[in-house]
Assembly symmetry: C3
Homo-oligomer: 212 residues x 3
Amino acid sequence: MDSEPLIITVLNIAGTFAFGLNGALTAMRFARLDIVGVLVLGMLTALGGGTIRDVLLDRLPPATFRDWRYLAAAAAGALVAFALGHALERVNRSVIIADAVGLAVFAATGAATAMQADVGVVQSVILGTVTAVGGGTIRDVLVRQVPSVLSSGFYAIPAAVGAAITATCFAIGLHDWIWVSAAALACFALRVFGVRYQFRAPRPPKAPDVSS
Amino acid sequence: MDSEPLIITVLNIAGTFAFGLNGALTAMRFARLDIVGVLVLGMLTALGGGTIRDVLLDRLPPATFRDWRYLAAAAAGALVAFALGHALERVNRSVIIADAVGLAVFAATGAATAMQADVGVVQSVILGTVTAVGGGTIRDVLVRQVPSVLSSGFYAIPAAVGAAITATCFAIGLHDWIWVSAAALACFALRVFGVRYQFRAPRPPKAPDVSS
Amino acid sequence: MDSEPLIITVLNIAGTFAFGLNGALTAMRFARLDIVGVLVLGMLTALGGGTIRDVLLDRLPPATFRDWRYLAAAAAGALVAFALGHALERVNRSVIIADAVGLAVFAATGAATAMQADVGVVQSVILGTVTAVGGGTIRDVLVRQVPSVLSSGFYAIPAAVGAAITATCFAIGLHDWIWVSAAALACFALRVFGVRYQFRAPRPPKAPDVSS
């Protein structure tokens, strides 16, 4: 952890806050939970993806538990959502934006962390994607929604693109923070435009076109 | 494992048995499963929380797999529930009591184990809570209920209180088994009274008061 | 990994392909997902069980991430299902056969891997079973079905039998690949006959016989 570049830590903390906010808002919208449920779902959404990444990379105990700043960012996001939820809820878009921020940041930093652990480029793309979608998938399972990563083609694709840009940059020697940030930005833009313009991934051939 | 205090081992085995009983009773009540489903759900409920704790603390392979006594206690709990289920089911309370015993024991011992692994006080409180609620959350997801940890404020709170008492005692040098047991007892009492008198945690401000 | 016998690697790759196919077909049948959802569910089904096994055995990063052949086999299975899905779907049996192949192979190789890690015979039987049913359980949770391992007695039992044969052979010194293959074959036969002739495990005494 100590040798982790500052920019990755800063981005990770921002992403953790965004996912904490998003998970808590989801808890308030879908399941009408009390403050404990809001806090728990916010923290699981915020810390789930990074924890899975650290388990798979054998970085145990995970940074999300060792480093109090992640715990604080996740709890802060959830508590802000709890306090301001009624106001934010009207701005329905805030749920999607917070989710896109977390997705983008974790795709880029997850892939960067995996590249630094020398697990290979393809593996880093997959681990970056897993880091990005892991928290939201736990969130969706717990509130009994079909996970975004399955139901929406343009959830996993932006994450994989962000992770692929980061992994490619690292593979060709571009370790600078600007590339990690650019990858996160590309993922964020792709996700937000995907939601805005309802990009769709191809469906199975000849299957009836039933929206799920 | 060899250096683990006897009291923690004894409490863990009791908690494992209680969660095995509870998971199996849940399998019989909610999903009308056959003996295999009852055994599987009982063992997952009993061993899930401790396994997550050991993965996060890098104590691998987890004690729940290395130590046959946990496997035996979990299976015994499930099989007792299968054999006596019809009788116990009438006493609806037994499901709640068994769950509260497992919750209380795992909150205290999970926090104690985390403190011994030197991950910090706040982290130990969270890990104790995760140990306590982990098995029940897996149980609820598999039988497609909204997890207790989300829907009931007085599931995570008693666990966090039990874990916090334990972590605080360890932090100020009180390693004696009496404090771990006292923490478990406090958690158990808080959970049982919470269910009995329907304690509620605050809900989000201005949200309509819809019970979930 | 380098010292893993070739037969185990070959069987694992075949099982990974089969589960990739099965998970993708499930995605197309139950949830009408697009190509991303099909690919994600196929890969999670294919890689989930082995990843859980490797986490619990402390073989991190898991072989499923380190070894590109598993990633390729999982993706190939999912993409074949996506391309041929409409044809295969008519042959409803192919979903069950692919699932039984993955179950059988992973039960045997999972138990073999656990025995080689010296975790004990009972533990190896459980870990083989977990390896076999893990991916399918993740699949079922994500598409919101009650997991096969709970609802169908003859899902966990064949897996446990295959794992037990393997673990017993290893315990008495029969390390030859023929025994691992025979164990997988026994598991496969038991699963397929179980589905064909609707074998049932005993239900709780006196509970009303409601099919789940």
